[in-house]
Amino acid sequence: MKILVCISSVPDTTSKITFSDGDTKFNTDGVQWILNPYDEWYALVRALELKEAGGGNVTVINVGGPDNDAIIRKALAVGADDAIRVNSNVTEPFQVASQIANAAKDGGYDIIFTGKETINYNGSNIGGMVAELLDMAFVSYASKLEMSGNIATIERDIEGGKEVVEVKTPFVVSASKGLAEQRIPNMKGIMMAKRKPLNVVEEVPSEARRAIQKYILPAPKAAVKLISPDNVEELVDLLHNEAKMI
């Protein structure tokens, strides 16, 4: 089976979020970049498990600049066989999806994985866009995926439950929690990753459809009102009469 895993580079979860250039740019000073957790922990690991069980090849693809090579090497260290980086200065999701679809269209991939969303823009756009561009099925928020021949049975998260679907390869699937268990790369993996192929290809043009104009931070919270543990009635009163929540 040939599997493609889309990976993204995102700020570490503890990063302080600030902006520069009159609040029009994310301030990357001192920001540590990591593999997007949904891509690394769930999508990539489930792809590797499928390969281990049934043979095949796992390729990771990233759309971005040379700075992303570090997170790509990390994915290779976790176990991917090879990597593609589409050299690009990313500005919007359609641009990313266009590059992935273009790189994948002649690749003969049976499954294309994405994470359920990136933790910086939380758009959940790439999987559906790639599927549409390639005219494939798309199953989002998979928390379980089993293959039998060319048919996958997938459990996906929906509000208040799970939906079980069957889909034939080729398809696009986005990974949510539970699909696999995070793997920590070992020394051997890290050494091998240095020799695995990382092919850099140039971007194809795509039409610009949107632009970020500015960012804002949420308004700071007023100081907490502390209530004595011996007087929970006061909390109930505040929630009822002041906050009007209960």
Partner: protein, 324 residues
């Protein structure tokens, strides 16, 4: 130019998130002097669909092809896009639910539309088409301008609210027809969680607990509190990771992002990744025995105390209020 809003249905009636999407689309349509048309797929009960009229919708179009009774992103996206083209529509609105998100991005490709998902307010059209959306998992907001002629917006549940007015919408059948090759998945089963509370992404009241509860056997007091409030239960990540609670309860940056009206956090320290998923709650109450717990900085109300003593007392006090 009319605005189209896709409405999710269950057994032929709009879902709760559908009323919110209709309210949002209705408001945007009114702001721009347009009509708001709703679209439903699969079986539709005309009397139930007409109720969308009270939320700003003038007309409901239903494509009641039985094959659309179960969800398929490819077929749904085609039906919505084709109907939008027939109607000459340039703006399509979705609720950012599990299904809504999966089709919005496909529809954007089909309509060559710029898309903003994660919207929390109606577009500002005074100079372009500027949409406010959540970014960095709730740690910030971004304003994004869509420049393409066609536009797709998906809104975060509970961000705009349901605004009921009066009126009734007309219901018509859509003109789009699909072929078998438009369908790509087979839905085998839907497993609903038991219980009658709202699912987390839509919940208005949430009671959440963390490692401070010491073990899964102690969740009784959490469930009791949730029950008197009619709240949905949630938990921190480590609690789900060790299996004290199911994964679907995990909220935060790598779990479910929520924005209830009231979030009560019990025995949760308030790590940055946890806060990312919950800090857009309107009111936050923190109960923690450590006065230095970072969560107090993000809280509106706090009790420094032992959860095992405070929570049962709180439950009793709320019971008293409710029976008063």
């Amino acid at each position: 130019m009319a605005v189209l809003v896709y409405i999710e249905t269950e057994k032929g009636a709009p879902k709760r998130n559908g009323f919110e999407a209709a309210s949002y689309a209705g408001k945007h349509a009114a702001n721009t002097g347009n009509d708001c048309i709703a679209l439903t797929l699969g079986e539709g009960d005309d009397a139930e669909l007409a109720k969308l009229g009270a939320y700003g919708v003038s007309k409901v179009i239903k494509i009641d092809d039985a094959r659309l009774n179960s969800f398929d992103s490819k077929a749904y996206a085609k039906a919505i896009s084709e109907e939008a083209k027939v109607l000459g529509i340039h703006t399509v609105i979705f609720s950012q639910s599990a299904n809504g998100k999966s089709i919005a991005s496909r529809v954007a490709v089909r309509l060559q539309a710029g898309i903003v998902s994660g919207a929390v307010d109606v577009p500002d059209t005074s100079n372009g088409f500027l949409v406010k959306k959540t970014a960095f998992s709730g740690k910030a907001f971004a304003f994004i301008n869509i420049s393409s002629e066609n536009k797709v917006v998906a809104i975060v549940p509970n961000s705009f609210g349901i605004h009921q007015g009066s009126g009734s919408a007309s219901v018509e059948k859509g003109s789009v027809s699909l072929s078998d090759s438009d369908f790509s998945v087979t839905v085998k089963e839907i497993k609903k969680q038991v219980g009658d509370t709202l699912p987390l992404p839509e919940a208005e009241l949430v009671v959440s607990a963390g490692r401070g509860m010491k073990g899964p056997e102690n969740w009784g007091i959490i469930e009791d509190l949730a029950k008197v409030l009619g709240a949905t239960t949630a938990c921190s990540r480590p609690v789900a990771d060790v299996g004290w609670r199911p994964h679907h309860e995990h909220v935060g940056q790598t779990g479910v992002a929520i924005r209830p009206n009231l979030y009560i956090a019990i025995g949760i320290s308030g790590a940055i990744q946890h806060l990312a998923g919950v800090n857009q709650s309107k009111v936050i109450v923190v109960i923690n025995k450590d006065p230095e717990a970072p969560f107090f900085k993000a809280a509106d109300y706090g009790i420094v105390g032992d959860a095992f003593e405070v929570v049962p007392k709180l439950t009793e006090a709320i019971k008293k209020l409710k029976s008063a």
